[in-house]
């Protein structure tokens, strides 16, 4: 018995459906990639913010442990008139990363007068995402006394 010749549109239908679905699938994929990028940026923003905060916290801790007010102006190298003046003189070997090595902070210091200083901590994370925090601090008058934070601001 001779078999019937196979006819139909299954292949054509399938191809047409695939052609229709392809743009939709690519649109969904694009949307998902965009969402992932936004979520990643948001996470880096938050981490950079907390990294900048940790810079201020570390500076406050250093101030509480006792530091000569005059030494604040000389920078980490302790020598006035050099390029690092204005940077907070953390003790050697301190970590300037938080919470991981991807986020680095740098703290600047400036005298405001009346025993007050201004700390500006800027942290930079992946994709060059940066956040900056500023604190106005009253220097401790006695050794071991905690410095008082008079004001806190995030600079945008």
């Amino acid at each position: 018995m001779k078999p019937e010749r196979q006819r139909g549109v299954a292949l054509v239908s399938a191809l047409a459906l695939i052609a229709l679905m392809l743009p939709l699938a690519s649109q969904v994929q694009l949307q998902a990639k965009l969402e992932a990028l936004i979520a990643g940026n948001s996470r880096h923003q938050s981490q950079a913010f907390y990294s900048a905060e940790s810079g201020v916290a570390l500076a406050l801790e250093t101030l509480a442990s006792g530091i000569d007010a005059a030494a604040l102006d000389a920078g980490p190298d302790g020598v006035d008139g050099t390029g690092d003046d204005g940077r907070f003189p953390f003790p050697p070997g301190h970590a300037n990363e938080f919470p991981t090595g991807d986020y680095e902070f740098e703290v600047g210091v400036r005298h405001l007068g009346d025993g007050q200083i201004e700390l500006v901590s800027r942290a930079v994370g992946p994709r060059n995402i940066a956040r900056t925090v500023r604190a106005v601090v009253e220097l401790p008058t006695a050794l071991g006394a905690p410095p008082e934070v008079l004001g806190w601001q995030e600079i945008r």
Partner: protein, 213 residues
């Protein structure tokens, strides 16, 4: 109709049981009848209608997802902005004590700060107000003395809810109350949420008033 044998070799997809051809294939050369064309066209039309329906549904789903994602992104950006402004309120560049919350209620808050330390809070970005506008289904933000601009819109079925807590974590005021000066000065934490009308939280954050003393 009569089937004519193909003697010059048949295509490989032709039936294989015809011994009279070079490849053992036969060619069906009868063509297609009008009826077959009509049936095929009808079939394709039915399939196309079904496919169009699927595509329409898929597009609607994508559109809905995009709208939902866009609204969620806007809500989170608004929350971040509110949180940053609450954290900054009460800051004085001169180190002076300043009460950062000028007015507070469940769906509005006025914040002040003095970043340049000149003693007033009339300069740019020294006074910020957030107000939820239920009729426009929008959150409005105003800076300085300017009028409130739409900050987030399309908040169908959502409302802004601000809850104030003191240093011990006790909620200050009630949902409908306007906080007085003593209550505002006692506020140390503010929970900011976007809620549906039945109280379900869609997005929210908790922020400390850092400059409160």
């Amino acid at each position: 109709m009569e089937t004519v044998a193909w003697t010059g070799g048949g295509p490989p997809w032709a039936p294989v049981d015809n011994p009279g051809t070079a490849h053992g294939h036969a060619c069906n050369c009868r063509g297609v009848s009008l009826l077959e064309v009509i049936v095929a066209a009808a079939f394709v039309a039915v399939m196309s209608v079904q496919a169009a329906s699927w595509v329409r549904t898929a597009l609607q789903a994508i559109h809905s997802l995009e709208n939902s994602a866009e609204r969620d992104r806007s809500l989170w950006l608004a929350l971040e902005a509110i949180a940053a402004d609450v954290r900054n309120c009460g800051f004085s560049g001169a180190g002076a004590a300043l009460s950062g919350i000028e007015a507070a209620q469940s769906d509005a808050i006025h914040l002040i700060s003095d970043p340049n330390g000149d003693g007033d809070h009339d300069d740019a970005n020294e006074r910020i107000r957030y107000v939820f506008d239920p009729s426009a289904k929008a959150l409005r933000r105003a800076t300085g003395l300017s009028g409130a601009q739409v900050f987030v819109e399309g908040l169908d079925g959502l409302q802004l809810r601000l809850r104030y807590f003191d240093a011990f974590g006790t909620e200050i005021g009630t949902a409908a109350s306007v906080l007085n000066a003593t209550q505002r000065a006692a506020a140390r934490r503010i929970d900011v949420t976007f809620e549906s009308v039945n109280g379900a939280v869609v997005a929210g954050t908790s922020v400390h008033v850092r400059n409160a003393r």
